[in-house]
Symmetry: C2
Subunit: 463 residues, 2 copies
């Protein structure tokens, strides 16, 4: 059942080996007396070159059936390649054509296509060099994430996608309902009659699994989520998706220092893993997509991240010999230009900024003794900007209740979250990583829609 | 940052080792001159016994603060245990109390609680023996699934959660919208004006990633999904969830035999992995939850699965010396009682039934030459019933188009799915596994709501 995969053949195949390969034809070149096929099965960027000699029975008929995009099975023997560009090639003894691809209509002909066009044929774009590389690297990133946490005894926890709590109060939530939208039931007072909906109350798609991950950390110490999250934000940018995957570790008995240590180790691990397991794809990105991809990865792997407080960062930005579009002043959030100045110009390596003003951060972040800042941290990387955001959580019931109320939320709605502080509360911390942002930065792809198989964005839910 | 975890200490800790542990107190026993704490940090079913001697400064005050559910940090030295039930215990030199838990209100006192009650406090139930074991085994299952596929060169692909296609036509879909439900915009004809919704068309939560996984298999050969799926089915049973995780591998250049081979290898791998990595938890389930848990697991691991066609199965059922509630006749779907008879009574091991009547199976399954059956397979396991369903997919464009139309669907809506048969089509196959069903069967838990951290069911989307 397990076929010979082309990646393996190219790596370890030896002359005189007999084998069968199956894949899709990238190109066909007919010469006098023989023909070359470039065959790809998605296991690697490089194709396997197949040589078909005119001695093959039905040579003409078979070649006629084979076009770019067609699928074939070739049995033959490996031989050392005469041509340049490959170590070995496959001399065909038999060729079976599974499916053809009409050259008049098959959209992926040899010429280069724009990423915009390829998005309209997302069901075929995985067959191109760029998207083959993207989705192999995406898989490697995902695997690295699981390995990293599992090796360290973290449990993967599945936090709910459908949620009745709108805790972050963002108003950027998708509603989930099984109402007939043409005729939403109303109560006598003309309010929506949620008692007739599936969950008997308003329900939404989650924007984060953090609060539920905190629940699990209060029983299992170290956990992480890795699942889809949603924003109904009408942002048609190259960095926003309505549906994206997030990674959110949460650690009990951990403070902000431990959180930063883990986040730094985590980023280094993933970049290193991908560089080691997908070197050919990473070279491809560096050559064809963004000349700084390898430099950025090595910068993350090889440098100790700089750590400084928000207050220190503001001082450095105020002193900077650079004209920013947005003014810098204590209390205002850092803009992308500020973050990039710190990471790219000043420190030339990843920077962790900590202890942000409380009023610009979420209610669950731990208030410091100065009562002005919270134990938050953002990791800023050169060429990338913010890649991770995290915090130590507020574990003191009285302080948390005050912050909940101050933000106009109701403590009743968060009864279970507050219970965690009522029963066996402990210092704990965690962070969040947007998975597609990571893959985007790792590959240098300019648009986030090109690092997820089927992007969901305003007015687009195709495939 | 990485603390000593109790699982590791219990396994490899040696007398005279000095260390610090952090966890939650399961019980406290005060004796004359000293006290015992049972400490748990979620890493194992077993607790670490801590001995606190009255010589400890502030002995009385500290003990008073410590109750079941409280969180502590203990530094001390390991000593061989005098008591039975544990090899070693920790003699405390210092004890720090992080958080207490009022014995008057903390719901998890020593007495046994019903699973129904514990569902109402899902934010605390992970701290019980049963749910500790469930979520460790759930994590082990999930890890085994990724390992199995990654070792075999399958890519993990993230298929979309939000989808505009209602291909299976089930009518059990949740709608996703950012309309204000109180005032859904209408067109002049009083139809819903979807042009004003986020995706400019009706959108739903996915019921399966299979069709999109087929897209990815047509570029990468072997892929799998592992993500959440949804059913808006109003089923208040012990086997249904509105939100659950599914695993769906898809293999190009693969027929039904290859599909069955992979599925059998896959199930054996997961059960074996969990038996090896969570032996203590599995023993617990066998002792406390279901006395057949280990037997069922070993039956799956150690037997070659029986393979027979639906037609053969019907003949055997017709001959069976058993009175069924539902009659057996060729063309009707097998009922749970039939499936269990085959697996438990007749073969006493897992059974794969293949080649079901076309009219009771989905449009995408490959039609056989008899034109009456499709190349479908279901795996039935003793005590479990159906655990996997799969098929070889219809790869012939003309046959597929006929089946799409016969089921009242429109070929235009499936243009991209049909394109896969138009351009380089290949024989391919896959299967689906309901992840919570697997965990339920593995642990013997009677209700599927007790194997997912925060279950979503009719009228319930708490936490």
């Amino acid at each position: 059942m397990i076929n010979h995969r082309i990646a393996q053949i190219l790596k370890t195949g030896q002359p005189e080996e007999n084998l069968t390969v199956k894949g899709w034809v990238r190109t066909k070149r007919e010469l006098k007396g023989f023909a070359f096929l470039e065959l790809n099965d998605g296991s690697s960027l490089a194709n396997l070159q197949v040589v078909i000699n005119q001695d093959l029975p039905d040579y003409e008929a078979i070649l006629k059936q084979i076009n770019t995009g067609g699928s074939v099975e070739v049995t033959g023997v490996l031989v050392a390649s005469q041509g340049k560009g490959q170590r070995i090639e496959l001399k065909a003894d038999t060729v079976k054509v599974y499916g053809d691809a009409d050259p008049e209509t098959y959209p992926l002909q040899k010429k280069r296509h724009s990423f915009e066009f390829l998005r309209t044929i997302a069901h075929l774009r995985g067959r191109t060099n760029s998207f083959g590389a993207v989705f192999r690297v995406r898989n490697a990133c995902a695997t690295a994430i699981h390995q990293f946490f599992q090796q360290r005894g973290f449990l993967w926890v599945h936090t709910p996608i459908i949620t009745a709590s709108d805790c972050e109060g963002a108003g950027e939530l998708f509603s989930v309902t099984n109402f007939n939208l043409k005729n939403v039931p109303k109560t006598e007072n003309q309010e929506i009659d949620y008692s007739q909906d599936f969950f008997s109350k308003p329900a939404y798609l989650t924007v984060s699994g953090q609060l539920e991950a905190e629940i699990m950390a209060m029983a299992f110490t170290n956990v992480y989520t890795f699942g889809p999250t949603f924003r109904a934000e009408n942002s048609n940018t190259s960095r926003h998706l309505a549906e994206f995957w997030m990674v959110e570790p949460e650690m009990a008995f951990c403070d902000l220092d431990g959180d930063m240590d883990l986040a730094e180790e985590f980023l280094k691990y993933i970049f290193k893993y991908v560089m080691e397991t997908c070197p050919e794809d990473m070279e491809f990105f560096n050559d064809r997509i963004d000349k700084t991809v390898l430099e950025t990865a090595n910068n993350i792997i090889n440098n100790q991240f700089e750590r400084l407080t928000y207050t220190e960062a503001v001082k450095l930005l105020e002193k900077a010999d650079v004209k920013f579009d947005y003014p810098v002043s204590w209390g205002a959030d850092l803009q992308s230009e500020h973050e990039r100045y710190l990471a790219e110009q000043l420190f030339k390596k990843p920077v962790i900024v900590t202890d942000y003003p409380a009023q610009i951060k979420a209610f669950y972040m731990r208030l410091s003794d100065d009562e002005k800042t919270v134990r938050a941290m953002d990791i800023l990387a050169p060429k990338i900007g913010e890649i991770i955001g995290g915090s130590q959580r507020e574990e003191r019931l009285d302080v948390l209740e005050k912050r909940v109320l101050a933000q106009g939320m109701k403590t009743e709605d968060l009864w279970w979250y507050l219970d965690l502080r009522r029963y066996g509360t402990v210092p704990h911390a965690g962070f969040g990583l947007g998975f597609e942002r990571l893959v985007q930065f790792m590959t240098g792809m300019g648009n986030i829609r090109d690092v997820i198989p089927f992007p969901r964005t305003p007015q687009s839910a195709e495939f």
